[in-house]
């Protein structure tokens, strides 16, 4: 494969930027959370690319741990969002301004 490390890092950086755009732009908490997952995924891609081009397994193992932690984090975050919805009947961040009043 003649595609170098730079191409993979470029794709990972663009994925990270798209995730950041989603976090800034969207109002729905669920979409913001999905964008956060996308940013984690971009970091995973960069780690795997570095690991492959470096010739060691450590990056791959980090990705293994990141996937595990992300699964736990999604379960807990979605439980928090459901609890928030039960309390406030909305998940839009522009209506969740209880701390600013």
């Amino acid at each position: 494969m003649t595609v170098g490390l730079n191409a993979f890092i470029l794709v990972a950086g663009l994925l990270f930027a798209i995730g950041l755009l989603g976090v800034i732009l969207r109002k729905n908490t669920l979409i913001i959370y999905m964008s956060l997952e996308l940013m984690l995924n971009a970091v995973n891609l960069a780690l795997v690319a570095f690991s492959r081009y470096n010739g060691t397994m450590d990056g791959n193992l980090f990705v293994f741990f990141i996937i595990t932690v992300a699964a736990a984090e999604v379960a807990l975050g979605l439980a928090i969002i459901v609890a928030l919805f039960r309390l406030r009947q909305t998940v839009m961040v522009d209506q969740l301004t209880a701390l600013s009043r």
């Binding site: 995730g19 669920l30 999905m34 995924n41 891609l45 795997v48 470096n54 459901v82």
Partner: protein, 180 residues
């Protein structure tokens, strides 16, 4: 041939990620997100990380996105109709910041070709034999070997984290009774 596959999968991943961000419907966003995760798994396959590709499809595209879809359908929030496009200030600020970031990344990595090739210094002294790292293999066996030798403590801590997450989910999603 593999180069063409890389460009195809990178385009699929980036396009579906962008569609996920701009789609007004939450269910459509989740569907595009699944495509983005599968595209990332394909990029993992191109990097010969087959075990991680399988794990990505199983955990992210399977479990995590099913959980997301479940919550989206449970909460049924589709009231965000064209609200993004009305808020001109947020939209323009986000687009400008995103464009700045894209230009930064592209200039950092497209202009990086002129840099000289880095060469690692040879290891002078290695008393315990550690630190070189497990060499890259495609078999899942190397994962098991690393997890039970070099990464034993993080492995145990991750298991404990999963337990803590499980208990946390039960505590958070429990209905509050009147007397507690």
């Amino acid at each position: 041939m593999i180069d063409i596959l890389f460009y195809v999968f990178a385009a699929i991943t980036l396009t579906s990620a962008l569609l996920m961000v701009v789609s007004p419907n939450a269910v459509n966003s989740a569907m595009c997100m699944i495509v983005a995760f599968v595209g990332t798994a394909a990029l993992f396959v191109l990097l010969e990380a087959y075990f991680l590709a399988v794990l990505q499809v199983l955990v992210y595209a399977g479990a995590v996105m099913v959980l997301f879809l479940f919550i989206i359908m449970l909460l049924d929030v589709d009231k965000e109709t064209n609200q993004i496009l009305k808020d001109k200030l947020t939209l323009s600020a986000s687009i400008a910041g995103f464009a700045l970031l894209v230009v930064l990344i592209c200039s950092a990595f497209a202009g990086g070709q002129h840099l000289p090739e880095t060469s690692l210094m040879p290891v002078m002294e290695n008393p315990t034999g550690e630190g070189i790292g497990i060499p890259f293999t495609t078999s899942a066996k190397s994962f098991g070997y690393s997890l039970f030798t070099k990464y034993m403590l993080p492995f145990q801590v991750t298991g404990f984290l999963l337990l803590a997450g499980m208990i946390g989910v039960i505590v958070v999603s429990k209905k509050h009774s009147a007397n507690s």
